[in-house]
């Protein structure tokens, strides 16, 4: 479980998050949704201890992320930020392999090799495994980064807008993989997602954020409701049930 307790965060004088509290259940996929600038990325970075809160605490699996050794946390949670500029010339296989670093500290064994291959296959990267990152398209590079995070094989997987640059096929594939990890392996994926229909289809739990606070938090079916979503995005949204799934119409 991820327990967020009265988190405050500010940059200079401007308050970004104000007294945010929420609990994200273990073994479920949570989607964080909300308008631009709501504080979704900030909250994800705080959970992943990439930045420090001004006040409040966050626990992941009972570990206070501010006080737990970084290398211990690296075996519990993995995070991919929204923007990733990688200037190094690494081969895809090498990059994905670095996902094993928290476990191996640079001494990989045969099992790690299998994990790397598994992650490459999952993201359909085998044909490019020996290419350098700068010889890939934006979407392929994004998949390589996601493969590295999956290769880290942590219980908590935090991804900030992972569908950026991904085509329909790979978006769907990634969501299925993550859902499967949650339901079969008991992992806890937490994703910031813009396309709310992906959230509707795959997420078990929704955390809706607006203006630096929690707007709503609950099971997907409860959040996917006309008035709630319309108010969240300040846009008229109607939910239709299509083939037993909520589907949001917004244009």
């Amino acid at each position: 479980m991820i327990e967020i307790d009265r988190i405050g965060f500010a940059i200079g004088k401007s308050e970004i998050l104000n007294e945010v509290s929420a609990q994200l259940p273990r073994g479920k996929m949570t989607a964080i949704i909300g308008p631009n600038g709501a504080g979704k990325s900030t909250l994800l970075s705080l959970i992943a201890r990439l930045i420090s809160p001004a006040s409040g605490t966050i626990r992941v699996d009972g570990h206070n992320v501010q006080q737990t050794a970084s290398d211990t946390l690296a075996r519990i949670l993995a995070v991919l930020r929204q923007e990733n500029v990688i200037a190094s010339r690494l081969r895809v296989r090498e990059l994905v392999g670095f996902g094993r670093f928290p476990h191996t500290r640079g001494q990989p064994d045969a099992q790690d090799g299998e994990k790397i291959q598994w992650a490459l296959d999952l993201m359909a990267l085998s044909p490019f495994a020996d290419r350098f990152l700068d010889q890939l398209s934006g979407g392929q590079r994004q998949r390589a980064l996601i493969a590295m995070i999956l290769c880290q094989d942590t219980d908590y997987i935090l991804l900030d807008e992972p569908l950026n640059n991904l085509d329909l096929f790979h978006s769907r594939k990634l969501m299925q993989v993550l859902q499967d990890m949650a339901h079969r392996l008991g992992k806890t994926p937490v994703l910031v997602i813009h396309d709310i229909n992906y959230a509707a289809k795959y997420a078990d739990n929704i955390l809706a954020m607006k203006q630096g606070g929690i707007f709503a938090n609950g099971p997907t079916q409860a959040i996917f409701e006309d008035d709630l979503l319309s108010a969240l995005f300040d846009t008229p949204i109607r939910i239709h049930q299509i083939e037993g799934q909520p589907f949001a119409m917004h244009h």
Binding site: D71, L73, A87, R89, R91, G97, R100, G113
Partner: protein, 324 residues
């Protein structure tokens, strides 16, 4: 991290080339030494042991460690176009020696060395702090800031040296050459080489640092410790080489970039090649420096500087297009 089967041919060719360059280096010089003389002429043997061999070793050690330092600095700065002698580290070391020479002229070489290292560390830390504020999508700003900053620190050193009539000393530190190398006067370079080779044991950590702070944190790396370790290696090696042979610019830039183009930036794989290539390129430059105006010598820094700056320009203009 990946296990790749590599062809042995390049390795054999590289070793052969290295042996040839070393032999050429040892047997090049004003006094004629030939192999036969080594067996019956004690004077030739003495010259070899006291001057020729130390010089060749000094060149190899300096070239290898400067190349590694360039590579590490590029990882810390996350930028391919920086290296210690163009971004303030070397200039900082020179400034440190000048200041300590003025404040404590009687200070031992060890004290002077420490002053050079401390000043180099300060200078490098300031540079890395400066570039942190630059946008990551404009890689050319970083070397630009480095050149301006390095020029600034160097100018302070020159100004002080000028005021106090120390310019000829400063010239020795700023323009690297190996003609003064003798037995008993270059041994600190062994320490520099050992230190830079120690980087091999944290090669993965340096590669991860090159992926950025967030990625390093995500993988559980002690970001500050590795940054500090990298800076220490860079500064100690640079200061040691500035004091013993003087500054040789562009080695740390040219060599890692060639290696990066050829085999990428996974340090565990590329570091030994960077060291070897650095040693060989400086060895070749030193040979040219000794032969081009024979029997006089040109500073090796001038020779490498000419090739290096040309290569630097080519590098800036021929960056492979990135599909973003």
């Amino acid at each position: 991290m990946a296990c790749r089967t590599t062809n042995a041919m390049p390795l054999i060719a590289a070793i052969l080339l290295a042996v040839v360059l070393c032999i050429l280096s040892i047997f090049t010089g004003v006094a004629d030494i030939n192999i036969a003389a080594l067996f019956n002429d004690p004077q030739a043997l003495w010259l070899l042991a006291v001057s020729r061999l130390p010089r060749t070793l000094a060149v190899v050690l300096t070239g290898g460690s400067l190349a590694i330092c360039g590579l590490i600095m590029q990882m810390l700065a996350r930028n391919k176009f920086v290296e210690p002698t163009t971004a303030g580290t070397g200039q900082g070391a020179a400034l440190g020696i000048i200041v300590i020479t003025i404040m404590a002229p009687q200070a031992s070489l060890t004290i002077k060395m420490l002053a050079a290292i401390a000043a180099a560390l300060c200078s490098t830390a300031i540079f890395l702090a400066l570039i942190r504020k630059l946008p990551t999508d404009q890689p050319f700003l970083v070397p630009l800031v480095g050149l301006v900053f390095g020029g600034f620190v160097g100018a302070i050193a020159t100004f002080i040296a000028y005021q106090l009539d120390l310019l000829q000393y400063q010239d020795v530190w700023m323009n690297g050459e190996f003609s003064g190398v003798m037995l008993g006067r270059y041994e600190m370079l062994w320490f520099a080489a050992a230190l830079s080779l120690a980087a091999y044991f944290v090669a993965d950590q340096f590669t991860i640092i090159g992926l950025g702070k967030d990625m390093a944190l995500n993988l559980g790396l002690g970001y500050r410790q590795i940054m500090l370790l990298g800076m220490t290696i860079i500064c100690v090696v640079t200061a040691l080489s500035v004091v013993t042979v003087g500054m040789i610019p562009f080695v740390g830039l040219v060599v890692p970039n060639i290696a990066s183009r050829m085999m990428g930036d996974n340090l565990r794989a590329s570091l030994p090649w960077v060291a070897g290539l650095g040693a060989m390129m400086v060895l070749a430059s030193d040979l040219i420096a000794r032969l081009v105006r024979y029997p006089y010598e040109v500073p090796v820094s001038v020779v490498f500087g000419i090739f290096g700056s040309a290569f630097f320009l080519w590098l800036l203009f021929s960056r492979p297009a990135h599909a973003r």
